[in-house]
């Protein structure tokens, strides 16, 4: 029987691909089981394991025992890409990556690490029917595999990424072509390439090290460029100035190209700002003072053009989430600025605080944080905001009357807390030096802005979020006084749904049931708060529905707690024991099973389910409104304009980037993108 064929080494040409031996690795038992059965259905021979380490062991025992490896990307004991690399290097087997995440970065990483394919969960049987081609391809391209063993250690071209040793059999024309093609592709993609951490993960074989443009390296680069002047900066001179070992002229040249492109991009967007900025003189110290002193009048005008500065505000949310308008962090940031302003009341003290922030400049940034910063910098709107400075924010808030949030923010009693939080984040900030370095080319006048912008950038740090959370809870208390539920409902009718949160649901096929519709649309607006759903009857008549709401009028925290308790109850007691609400309905449903009037009972069930669902949904909906309201209040505080700015921001980033995933909602994303480009 071919399936049982245990011949090792040779592929059974006659019956191939039947009986192909596959090793499947995935920590998720469900996916593993489904995959195993799918593969068996294709008549392959499957071995499974849920641990990458075990998989390696099995492969090392006898590499001839398997023809193909399928591996998940996210595994707890070892990174899927690392496994991929090792398998490619040691056993030279084709490896297919598997993931639930279709992030382009991951796919690219797969390609560069040498995966022959990248499949998305859920895997369909049609896709699996053709995977044998990878085995054949490899066999065909390596006619003399054994003879090439010395060459297998040949430096794997990072650009080529052909980790399976295809490059080793360089004599074959096909291989050469494959190599060249990959090289070309890679060079094309280098623009959008992600940061390759090959250097850290090298198993010690001779590999041409892929240059990692770390924060420090980039800093040196920018310093060198500044020293030379952007126009006169040539790779050779930059290289000399940087004085970094192992860096080649080509590395610098490509990085310089990307850097220039980046600058061009941000300068075109920020050209309006440049005029404002230029007006403030050229010296750092005078900058800080002037910025804070004269800022207010001029910053007001800054808010005029396209509300870019508003966008900037929204972008400076903790955790570096651009456009996350309802983030409490964003609110807090403003609170920081405004309360900072209120408290300091003096430009001096402000500039002092900014100066202290500036002291953090020389600190070394962890690479990832630096990467984050890069991404943020890359956004077209980002530099705009950078130049807009935190002072801008301050000025903004003072002047911007229609920002409801501003009022609320100023009512923060714990402005100090937020400032403290800000300082904390700053102390661990990773952005300052980079911000300084990145912007110098704009115009000299912007340098100080960069310094000041560092104020806001540190808010990227996650720590600040905690502060914000506290702040936001305060905020909520304030807002609750000013908002009622209905009001929240009104405010919630924001049209912008630009967050990708909504996207998955836009394709949902909604049921005919109204409630279902409501819930689906609710789902689609998780990130944005209430929607039509809220305007539907459910919210409007919370008293009508048989709601088992506890603490409906209690504070939001309680509501959430209760809700969570309920829902926890619901699904935890599930296996046989339903929540009382559920019990009623499901006893009916269960009874229908043994009933005779099938159709009747089904519709009855539906009705009951409707009723049942109402309490559930009502519960949920009544809770979610409260939860949403939380977000809503924040949103309202952030003001509808912010939302449109969020759109603007996202659009901007979309138009600017060549990435498929252009939603740079986080500074992190932008930073990564920037790193990728370089």
């Amino acid at each position: 029987m071919t399936v049982e064929d245990k011949r090792s080494g040779l592929v059974n040409e006659d019956k191939f691909p039947i009986g192909m031996r596959i090793l499947a690795v995935d920590d998720d038992p469900i996916c593993l089981k489904v995959l195993e059965n799918l593969l068996r259905k294709c008549q392959y021979q499957v071995t499974t394991t849920n641990q990458a380490i075990a998989a390696l062991k099995m492969l090392r025992e006898n590499k001839n025992k398997y023809d193909l490896v399928i591996s998940d990307v996210n595994m707890p004991d070892m990174d899927g890409f690392k496994l991929l690399e090792l398998v490619g290097l040691e056993m030279d087997l084709p490896v297919i990556m598997l993931s639930a995440h279709s992030d382009k970065e991951l796919v690219y990483k797969g390609v560069t690490h040498g995966a022959v394919d990248y499949l998305l969960k859920p895997v369909r049987i049609e896709e699996l029917k053709n995977i044998w081609q990878h085995v054949i391809r490899r066999k065909k391209l390596q006619p003399k595999d054994q003879n090439r063993s010395p060459n297998q250690d040949k430096p794997l071209d990072g650009a080529g990424g052909s980790g399976q040793g295809v490059s080793s059999s360089g004599s074959a024309d096909q291989n050469g072509k494959v190599n060249r093609k990959r090289k070309d592709q890679d060079e094309d993609e280098e623009e959008e390439g992600e940061e390759n951490l090959h250097e850290n993960e090298e198993p010690g074989t001779q590999k041409k090290p892929r240059v990692v443009w770390s924060v420090e390296l980039h800093r040196k680069f920018v310093a060198a460029v500044n020293q030379l002047g952007l126009d006169k900066a040539v790779p050779k001179k930059i290289l000399d100035l940087m004085n970094v070992e192992g860096l080649t002229r080509e590395n610098v040249a490509s990085h310089l190209q990307k850097y220039r492109l980046y600058l061009k991009r941000i300068s075109s967007v920020a050209s309006q700002q440049a005029n404002m900025v230029a007006a403030f003189g050229a010296k750092d110290s005078s900058y800080l003072r002037m910025g804070s002193l004269d800022g207010f009048g001029d910053f007001r005008t800054l808010s005029g053009p396209g509300r870019l500065s508003s966008t900037s505000i929204s972008s400076y949310t903790p955790g570096g989430m651009l456009g996350r308008l309802n983030s409490p962090g964003g609110l807090t940031l403003r609170a920081i600025s405004s309360s900072g302003l209120l408290q300091s009341g003096h430009s001096q003290s402000l500039s002092n605080s900014v100066n202290t922030l500036g002291k953090f400049q020389p600190s070394l940034l962890p690479a990832s944080q630096g990467a984050n910063l890069f991404q943020g910098v890359q956004s077209s709107v980002e530099p705009n905001q950078l130049q807009a400075k935190s002072n801008t924010h301050i000025g903004e808030f003072n002047r911007n009357d229609d920002t409801a949030g501003f009022t609320l923010a100023t009512s923060f009693s714990d402005g100090r807390v937020t400032i403290g939080g800000l300082n904390n984040t700053v102390s661990s900030s990773t952005s300052n030096p980079l911000m300084l370095q990145v912007n110098p080319q704009q115009s000299q006048s912007r340098e100080a802005f960069a310094t000041q912008s560092s104020l806001s950038v540190p808010s990227l740090n996650q720590e600040s979020f905690d502060v914000d959370v506290h702040g936001s809870s305060n905020f909520l208390d304030h807002s609750r006084c000013t908002e009622n539920w209905q009001g929240a409902v009104q405010l919630s009718k924001f049209t912008t749904n630009s967050l990708p949160l909504s996207e998955p649901f836009s394709h949902d096929s909604l049921s005919t049931s109204n409630l279902r519709d409501n819930i689906s649309s609710t789902i689609s607006q998780i990130g944005n708060g209430l929607n039509d759903f809220s305007s539907s009857s459910v919210l409007a008549t919370p008293s009508d529905s048989r709601v088992d709401m506890q603490g409906q009028t209690s504070s939001m925290g309680d509501v959430v707690q209760n809700m969570s308790y309920n829902s926890r109850q619901r699904w935890e007691e599930h296996s046989q024991d339903y929540n009382p609400n559920l019990n009623n309905s499901f006893s009916n449903i269960n009874s229908f099973v043994s009933g005779n009037g099938v159709v009747g009972s089904l519709s009855q069930t539906m009705d009951q389910r409707k009723k049942f669902d109402v309490p559930l949904h009502g519960q949920l909906n009544n809770v979610t409104p409260s939860i949403f309201q939380h977000g809503e209040v924040e949103n309202s505080a952030l003001d509808p304009k912010m939302r449109s700015n969020e759109d603007y921001l996202l659009e901007q980033t979309k138009s600017q980037n060549g990435f498929a995933q252009n939603n740079y909602e986080s500074l992190d994303d932008m930073m990564n993108a920037m790193i990728k480009r370089v």
Partner: protein, 156 residues
């Protein structure tokens, strides 16, 4: 008549399935699972689904635990859990659950605690619903098998 009960139950099952598909609770992947069930693995679907329930509840517990930690919500870890949840949900065809997870993941990537809380609530709800319906389905299946196995005296 022989098998009447079984046929009726099968009709019930199909209706339930149709409903779930219509609601978007399940998608074609679930059908694939059913097609994988054969003589060599006769209980494949229920086995997989049970593992799924087990894992999902673990994940939900973890997610709630992570979110409830007001001090410092570990969004990264949440993302990891969610990735697994997305993978397993899509592998069995639990479309709605998967979609909520995707939204949840997006919120966690933004460190949006409020959004995450909302998403978690919805996720628990959707999961609940799915579990109920799948239980129904399995019950129907069991009953159908029982009914199909009934031998009437006249047959002998």
């Amino acid at each position: 008549m022989l098998g009447l009960g079984a046929d009726r139950l099968r009709a019930d099952m199909n209706r339930l399935l149709a409903l779930l598909f219509h609601q978007g609770v399940l998608d074609e992947q679930f059908l694939q699972l059913q097609q994988l069930q054969d003589e060599s693995s006769p209980n494949f679907v229920s086995e997989v689904v049970n593992i799924y329930f087990h894992e999902s509840e673990k994940l939900l517990r973890n997610l709630r635990g992570l979110l409830m930690d007001r001090e410092c919500s570990d969004y990264k870890k949440m993302g990891i859990h969610l990735n697994q949840f997305i993978g397993s949900s899509s592998s069995i065809g639990a479309k709605r659950v998967r979609n909520v997870c995707v939204a949840f993941r997006a919120a966690s990537e933004q460190n949006n605690r409020a959004g995450c809380l909302r998403a978690l609530e919805l996720l628990e709800h959707e999961y609940c619903y799915l579990k109920n319906k799948l239980h129904e389905l399995f019950q129907l299946e069991q009953q159908r098998l029982l009914a199909a196995g009934v031998r009437y005296p006249m047959q002998n």
